[in-house]
């Protein structure tokens, strides 16, 4: 995983990426980062540390103020074809059935025939266990099911890079754990490179090859923790002592970058 001097350039490179808002506030300040194919990188940090912004920069949904981002040798805007974005909410189109939502990305790409799309969506829905609800509408599904549709839609275009912006934040813990296992299972198949924004330390440790702890104001990488556990990982890992130790380590790193509460603001008893 560690690039040597003569190996090919890293799959994803961020070089002193800086992002400022138009009001002058610096969200990300000179952030550099490299990722290899197949890595699962979690971004964790206090709110306002720019982790979601970083994801949007990778997706080309937001422009850099300075620095450079290269994905498989391409600029973000050109790399969209090999990327999928999974948002905080499922962002399904309510007027489309589950199946039709899964097919959306392929349909917009316009490279596939209807029967090809049908085949892909059938396969993916089976994969995420939603074959039975293919003809239902999003409002008829639970939050967890909607998120699974959203994941299936993202994977339908066979992305090489998957950007996930706190996708399970709104779900209950049981659903979240289940979907975490699901993501790893899907990853075994497709080996996409993932950037995953989360607030949950346990989730980050369970999923990632690497965890980046970000600090806020300005957003910078404060620490990097490699997760040594081999894949495939199972639910049993969550109760292993070395897992819990690592969770503790990441939590400590996270605490150290937590902005202390404003002293001028008198606390309520």
């Amino acid at each position: 995983m560690i690039p040597t001097a003569h190996s090919q350039p890293p799959f994803i490179t961020l070089d002193s990426v800086t992002k400022r808002w138009s009001n002058g506030a610096t969200v990300l300040d000179g952030l550099s980062l490299q990722a290899e194919r197949g890595e699962f990188i979690s971004l964790i940090g206090p709110s306002g540390c720019g982790k979601s912004t970083l994801l949007r920069l990778l997706a080309g949904l937001s422009g850099l103020s300075s620095g450079s981002v290269k994905l498989d040798g391409m600029l973000p805007e050109s790399a969209r074809e090999i990327m999928s974005f999974i948002f905080q909410d499922a962002t399904l189109l309510p007027w489309r059935t589950v199946r039709s939502n899964v097919e959306l990305g392929l349909e917009l790409e316009g490279k596939t025939t209807e029967s090809q799309r049908h085949k892909t969506s059938t396969e993916l829905l089976q994969w995420v266990g939603l074959s039975d609800v293919a003809d239902l509408y999003p409002r008829q599904l639970s939050g967890g099911m909607r998120m699974r549709v959203s994941i299936a839609r993202a994977l339908a275009t066979r992305p090489k890079i998957l950007l996930m912006d706190e996708p399970f934040g709104a779900l209950d813990e049981m659903t979240r754990d289940f979907l975490n296992e699901e993501v790893l299972r899907l990853r075994e198949n497709d080996q996409f490179t993932t950037f995953f924004v989360t607030h949950s330390v346990a989730e980050a440790v369970f999923l990632s090859t690497r965890i980046l702890v970000l600090r806020a104001k300005p957003g910078q990488i404060a620490g990097e923790i490699r997760v040594p556990f081999a894949y495939p990982r199972t639910a049993a890992l969550r109760s292993a002592p070395e897992f819990l130790r690592l969770v503790g380590e990441v939590s400590a790193a996270l605490r150290s970058v937590q902005v202390p509460s404003n002293p001028s603001n008198p606390g309520h008893p």
């Binding site: 949904l61 969209r80 948002f87 909410d89 189109l93 349909e107 917009l108």
Partner: protein
Amino acid sequence: MKKFLIQAAWPLAVFVVVVTAWDLCCRWLAIPAYVLPQPSAVVRVVIERHQTLWNAFCITALEAGGGYLLSILGGVVIALFFAQSPLIRRSFYPYTILLQTVPIVAIAPLILMWFGSGLRSVMLVAFVICLFPIIANTTQGLISVPRNLIDLFVMSNASRSRQLLKLRLPYALPHLFVGLRISAGISVIGAVTGELFASSNAVGEGGLGYSITYANSQLQTDYLFALVLTASLLGFLFFFSVTALEWLCLRKWHESAMKTDAD
């Protein structure tokens, strides 16, 4: 069916009570028929003059319906234009509000003066009065598409026209229907108002609005009542048709239509 009957029972009971009270008032207070005709007199005049009523109904329906359909077309096109940029909205929106605030009784004579007092001018009055609710609601729908959904389309490299066709328009559909429901009723108001200013020879026998002025001048108050009821019926029919269409289009996926399931 049983549920429907129970639901229909209450408004029906109100109807019976009101009509009875109306009838009793006429008898006990000895109100002259040209001030307030008895319900039975209104029913009689409806039966006697059903042919003229029907003709007037058809003329007004044509005018109101034509203006309404035009306003849907025009309103959606204008809304699409407005949705392009905030600058366009800021520049033009104040003038569309004029459509809503200038009383239609003031505009109607102008339109008839400019375009002649024919069926088409009356249609134009209905068009003008229907336009604003459709523009306002459709624009609102088109511009309130959530950021993430737009980003999703951007990530798929979808062109502007695809974004419009597959995202903005379907997203705005429930909003459009709100406008359509509001305009359905007022299209009839527009047509009737237009006719009040149109001369009879231009509109042939004349629609409901023309007949209302005529009945009023002749103190045929029972006929006037029949005409007013027919006009309300027309508005109700429009409203009902649009609501039915809305249900057909949205029932599967939209929250507003879902409520009826839970009822």
